[in-house]
Amino acid sequence: MIWPLHICSRSLGAAAALALLALLPASVLWAATVAGAVELRESRIDSVARGKDYSGVVISLHAVNQPAASNAAKHVTMLQKDKMFTPHILPILAGTTIDFPNADPIFHNAFSSYSGQIFDVGLYPPGTSRSVRFQRPGIVRVFCNIHPAMSAIILVLATPHFTVTARDGSFHLDVPAGSYDLRVFHERATEQTLDSLSRRIIVGTDGLRVPPISVSEAGYLITPHKNKYGKDYDPPPDDKTLYPGGHP
């Protein structure tokens, strides 16, 4: 913690105010805003190409020459409802625990077997929850072993400075002034594309407006994933019928 050195005041009130300020860490005192906007190009998704929905892109700032942060002790939630993981994209600081409450009236599962941190919370009933602590930075692709259409991405980061773009693509982050590596993650962009978007920025005390970031979705392919045993999913139970052997 760094303390302000130059306190100079003629009145007691001003001195008290400055004394209060002195109790705050420098990172808060010198916080600056990094703002910008992301545009998605060459998308085959109607809501993106026509609706200009640029949400869901993760922007993270990694302080240069500073050790990675990984000591988060907080819980965040990824809800299972209406056979969907919500939110679909969830960036977290390494060390964070994610709770997976099941708000559907059916059983669910959550697992990741292939990248990032692997885990499997097993099959669990409605109204209950399971938790997993993510300790290593990486991209964790989450699926449900019963419902192949369900998927989500947990982006485990070694920095506390991250955000997800709004629908119009805008973002802003409050960070201490300094030098950072800006990185971009978008689930429908290739690794090469994302690498080319990384850049070093210097944030002054008056903040920084980042030039527009244009992310191409060229090369994005939809391919089915396997179940948690690495096999093809069984045909899903026919939920169009009330009971086994019934008719829709």
Binding site: E42, R44, I45, D46, S47, D82, D104, P105, I106, F107, F111, S113, Y114, S115, G116, Q117, I118, F119, D120, G122, L123, P125, P126, G138, I139, R141, F143, S151, I153, H186, E187, R188, A189, T190, E191, T193, L194, S216, A218, G219, Y220, L221, I222, T223, P224, H225, K226, K228, Y229, D234, P235, L242, Y243, P244, G245, G246, H247, P248
Partner: protein
């Protein structure tokens, strides 16, 4: 001073021109780079698509399960923890089969408590109001319990797969609790490839695959004799699928399914026909059926399905042939996640072989056999009021042409019903259903029967 300025301007002109030329050249280079970058991305897409088709790893950013390049593999301890938890999950008794193919046990234990009005005919689930009045009847039964076996595999040549199911209940025999016989309800053996499925089985007619949602009527289909052509009969069918928007990233799906096959009818000798000729009826006849389903699915569980169909068979009775010809239409309209409208309609002649009103032909006093013209259908509105609570309102009727009928035949059978279902647990459903059946008899008037049913189902 002015001379100096002019001289300076003249001397600077070539530099400005050169600057202008440089800018335009730079712009051209940038544009060319943009074009090359675009071409590069298109080529990358093609390469990935080719790799995918060849079965190789697709270096894409899609939601597949391939690990990103450069990511370190999970530590062995982490992997071991996951495997141990999965082994524990699998530590349960399995159904073993002699062929070592996985078979799953499924079904529903169903308890029904019911009350019928005086025209129920003493049956548990009356299809029509009876002509003669009797006393009200109440009771309870487990006869509608369903037990099923499903299997998935093995693989077939050409990338296909064999799968299927068989479902049984205890609706055979009589209503006496000690005389409920185990019987096959429906069964299917599917040989499926990417766009084609060949099925052999016992199921509803190809032209009438839908029905209302009910736990009161399971041993017989809901709306029997009131617009739902339901007979579960042996059949052989082929289905060809055409998808117009394959792998649409937006989740839209549009396509056609063409179904055609041979269906074995279940011919019924009308109770109003001369008993002496009942032995002349061929009990089963082949029917030829086809149905064309058009579907359009939109994200958010909105969906539209429309399917016209045709049925053709010939009933053999009293040494004569009676044509059974039906045109059908069924539909599903789901404008939102929680609301759906389903239904079916048919019109034609001699529908008794498919589960109609069981009076498909009339034997005239002259000895001639004529087909009974019939029209019918049903519709259901289903609303999910809450995640655990759903409401179903449905009704249907069959009307047969009076001029084709003899006295005491049914001219019209109308049933309307409503039920509320509540999920006590994901697999435990409680349902309350009420229905009214109004049956019009030629020369005998209308009979009305009320039916009430309380059901408790455990799905497994």
């Amino acid at each position: 001073m002015r001379i100096l300025f002019v001289a300076a301007f003249i001397s600077a002109s070539p530099i400005l021109r050169a600057q202008s030329n440089t800018d335009s050249a730079l712009q051209a280079v940038i544009e060319r780079l943009d074009r090359l970058e675009k071409q590069n991305r298109e080529l990358l897409t093609e390469v990935q698509e080719l790799r995918r088709q060849l079965g190789g790893p697709a270096q894409s950013a899609s939601a597949d399960a391939s690990p990103p390049a450069g990511s370190s593999p999970p530590p062995p301890a982490e992997r071991l923890d996951v495997q141990e938890s999965r082994t524990e999950e699998l530590a349960q008794t399995k159904v073993g089969t002699s062929q070592r193919m996985p078979v799953s046990l499924t079904g529903m234990v169903l308890f029904n408590a019911f009350h019928n009005g005086g025209f129920g005919g003493g049956t548990e689930v009356p299809a029509s109001a009876q002509l003669a009045k009797s006393s009200d009847a109440s009771g309870a039964t487990f006869r509608q319990t369903v037990i099923g076996l499903t299997f998935n595999g093995p693989d077939l040549p050409g990338g296909g797969k064999a799968s299927g199911n068989a479902y049984f209940d205890f609706w055979g025999g009589s209503a006496a609790p000690s005389n409920n016989l185990f019987r096959v309800r429906t069964a299917t053996l599917d040989l499926a490839w990417k766009n084609t499925t060949i099925s052999a089985g016992q199921d509803k007619p190809i032209v009438s695959p839908r029905e209302p949602t009910s736990l009161a009527e399971v041993g017989l289909a809901p709306l029997v004799g009131a617009g739902n052509l339901w007979d579960w009969q042996p059949q052989l069918r082929i289905e060809q699928r055409y998808s117009f928007r394959n792998s649409d990233p937006n989740g839209n799906e549009t396509g056609l399914k063409l179904q055609a096959g041979i269906f074995e009818t279940s011919e019924v000798y009308s109770s109003t026909a001369p008993a002496a000729l009942s032995g002349t009826l061929e009990k089963q006849r082949p029917a030829y059926e086809a149905r064309l389903l058009f579907y359009r699915g939109i994200p958010g569980k909105r969906r539209v399905e429309i399917a016209p169909g045709v049925h053709a068979s010939t009933t053999h009775v009293a040494g004569q042939s009676v044509d059974s010809r039906l045109g059908t239409l069924d539909w599903l309209i789901q404008p939102a996640n929680r609301i759906s409208l389903t239904g079916a309609f048919f019109q034609g002649t001699d529908d008794s072989g498919l589960g109609g009103l069981r009076q498909g032909f009339t034997l005239l006093s002259s000895g001639a056999a004529i087909p009974v013209h019939a029209a019918g259908g049903w519709s259901q509105l289903a609303v999910t009021l809450a995640p655990r609570l759903s409401l179903h309102i449905f009704g249907g009727e069959e009307s047969d042409r009076p001029s084709d009928l003899t006295p005491n035949s049914v001219r019209r059978n109308l049933v309307y019903a409503a039920n509320a279902m509540y999920k006590l647990a994901p697999n435990v459903i409680a349902a309350l259903e009420t229905s009214q059946t109004r049956t019009d008899y030629i020369l005998s008037g209308t009979r009305i029967n009320n039916h009430y049913d309380l059901a408790l189902a455990y799905l497994f």
